[in-house]
């Protein structure tokens, strides 16, 4: 009976976390895999499986959001190791993919271009800049990545410049 109640509590907590953070996680996955919807869905699913598996270990030392960022960033980086096995997309395929997988309203926005530009950064830089886009402060990002906040600030400045130049270059092409 107690076990059943604990399980229900875990389910409830998990479902709340999922509802609250799924859009953020999926968006980061989309940015990481250059807007490929299928891969981003697989990746976000892996992230929430890790959330479920580690939910009992959450001690509240940081916020749920920071905790989920850690899982998201580490899962994306581990994906680096196996992404050579998954199908690769050519640039043209990628552009089509980005177009077809977004709703009409988002098609009008520049988000597929942003995903594409983010995807041209180094893997760790993609994750850092997406956390900056998510309005995370340098200390929180430093906690997730494991480097100091000053280093994060320097890196962010460099990544912003690089992203800006990629976007300008892509616009001219």
């Amino acid at each position: 009976m107690i076990f059943l109640s604990m399980k229900t509590n875990k389910n409830e907590s998990f479902e709340t976390i999922y509802r609250q953070h799924h859009p953020m996680v999926l968006q980061m996955c989309l940015g990481f895999v250059k807007g490929d919807q299928d891969t981003a869905n697989d990746l976000s699913q892996d992230i929430f499986i890790s959330v479920w598996n580690n939910l009992d270990k959450f001690r509240g030392a940081s916020s749920y959001k920071t905790w989920i960022y850690r899982i998201t960033v580490n899962t994306c980086l581990q994906y680096v190791k196996k992404d050579k096995k998954v199908r690769r997309f050519s640039e043209s395929e990628l552009e089509n993919q980005s177009d077809t997988n977004h709703t009409e309203s988002s098609k009008q926005s520049d988000i597929p271009e942003l995903y594409k530009a983010i995807g041209q950064l180094k893997k760790i830089d993609r994750l850092i800049i997406m956390m900056v886009l998510e309005n995370q402060d340098y200390n929180s990002i430093a906690e997730v990545i494991g480097i100091n906040a000053i280093n994060v600030r320097v890196k962010t400045h460099r990544i912003k410049k690089r992203l800006e130049s990629i976007l300008k270059q892509n616009t001219h092409e």
Binding site: E15, I71, L77, G146
Partner: protein, 197 residues
Amino acid sequence: MSSDFKTLQSHWNTSKNQLHVSTIDFDNLYKKIRTKEKENYMFYYGTITILLTTLIVISLFFYFVAPVQYTLSRIGAGLMIFGLIFRIGIELKSIQKAKHINILDNSLKATEHTIAFHKFRTMIHQVVAPIIVILYTVGFYLITPEFSQYMPLWNIVFIDVSYIVIAVILFIVIRKGVKGEMQKLSDIIALKQDITE
């Protein structure tokens, strides 16, 4: 598209709000979690199960079916069995290293543990696996003189030749494993450099 960061942030947040899903099939998600748990279990214990089964079959074979009498043959059987036990031990150590990679650690720490794991895997493929294959091969050929007394010559020749074929396949598999691990290792080392630079 505008490269102004505030505008990008605004695009980012607008797009995120459109990703909101109204109905979520949690039953399906829980089903996938259970499947993933089984896959993880197989990832960790699949190889050990196969090795353990081989060990039991070989041990039973030498105990009940073909209890070898010559000292040379006994050494051979011992080498084959020892090679397998050693391999199982290494696999257990590998699982222990894999479990050090904690998804809840910060990225730098998780990357360092991943590097340690792949260095260990590379060492297994480069050093341990060939030693085990050599032990197993020497053991196998030490047994054949005694076996030849109970089997026709063509049978022994067939077994010996087929073992060479297996050895060649094993060599190719080990070589592929080494290459794969080296590639993963260099990718992760590059990632660590990107984090710390």
